[in-house]
Subunit: 186 residues, 2 copies
């Protein structure tokens, strides 16, 4: 019954398009639901949805309000509990600052990728680091993954999720769920 000082950030800018060029991606509301539910399941302290686009941020806030303050939460209290974990931030830096303000200490940023990256740490190493109780944020990219310019600012890079084959095209919803399970269990 361990708890972890762990946050999640889902980034919509800067991420990559299929050609590896930096873009901003559109919000997918089902990502919010799935990753919030996994976050609640695995004891994550907060889930930041990062988008610089005002209309997308408004949509995110409307979804959250519907399920936490509106009729959605009355009909489905479990969904309310999950979506209460979500905060919207306009940049990744803002999300990190919000976590640091809450935790009153420096946050360790952990980039994820579907690819093998130089100097990536293993899940086992990340679990060891979390035993220090320092706050960490697991950073997930939408579209074709986090842009290099954001990846470079992160303190750590985490190993990709692999199966027996070389296929590495999980949805961000699946990747988030598996990462949280691997990091917080066992």
């Amino acid at each position: 019954m361990s708890t972890h000082n762990l946050y999640v950030a889902l980034v919509h800018y800067p991420v990559m398009n299929r050609k590896g060029m930096p873009i901003g991606s559109a919000l997918t509301t089902i990502d919010m639901h799935d990753i919030a539910r996994a976050s609640r399941t695995f004891g994550i302290k907060g889930f930041y949805v990062v988008t610089p686009f005002a209309d997308q941020a408004d949509l995110a806030e409307q979804v959250i309000a519907h399920w936490t303050k509106g009729v959605g939460g009355e009909l489905n209290p479990s969904r309310k509990e999950a979506l209460e974990l979500i905060r919207v931030a306009s940049t990744f830096e803002e999300a990190v600052q919000q976590i640091q303000a809450k935790e009153e200490q420096t946050v360790v940023t952990v980039a994820t990728s579907a690819k093998d990256l130089e100097n990536a740490i293993s899940i086992t190493t990340l679990k060891q680091k979390l035993t220090s109780n320092a706050p960490h944020v697991l950073v997930l990219g939408t579209a074709w993954g986090l842009a290099e310019e954001l990846m470079e600012t992160c303190d750590l890079k985490l190993e990709p999720i692999k199966g027996p084959s070389d296929y590495n095209h999980l949805s961000v919803r699946s990747a988030a769920s598996i990462y949280l399970d691997r990091i917080t269990n066992g």
Copy 2:
């Protein structure tokens, strides 16, 4: 680099509504994508979408055709590789018969649930059973989970996915992804 004689079935009838009554649920196309991608990642041999509703089965077949034979697969060959794993069946029994015909031996059916069930086996036990190389099918319910009448026909029941809390409301996409990771890795 182990491979497993494992299939997945996503059931839309009979499943439960929020009150535990048996219903048929609507197809969610993102379930097809996410679970196919996780299946491809973790070396699953086939993914059966089970629905008795002809219009829903048609929709499923259209989605599969778009990504495996149409323009979708040309634009995104990785998605093609994943969706090629999907077969549509009108009943769970039909899915099991199709697997048995292909494997030329009896399939072991493994029901999943978000709840602790009597006589449920652990992931470790299931992994041991898979070493026999007998075909197994992991059965996932949409909506509020598999109806009792289907659950009762299954050979085995698998333990639920748990985190440090008692919250057990993962999406079926997340649950499928985590189950496949836990069963095929480590």
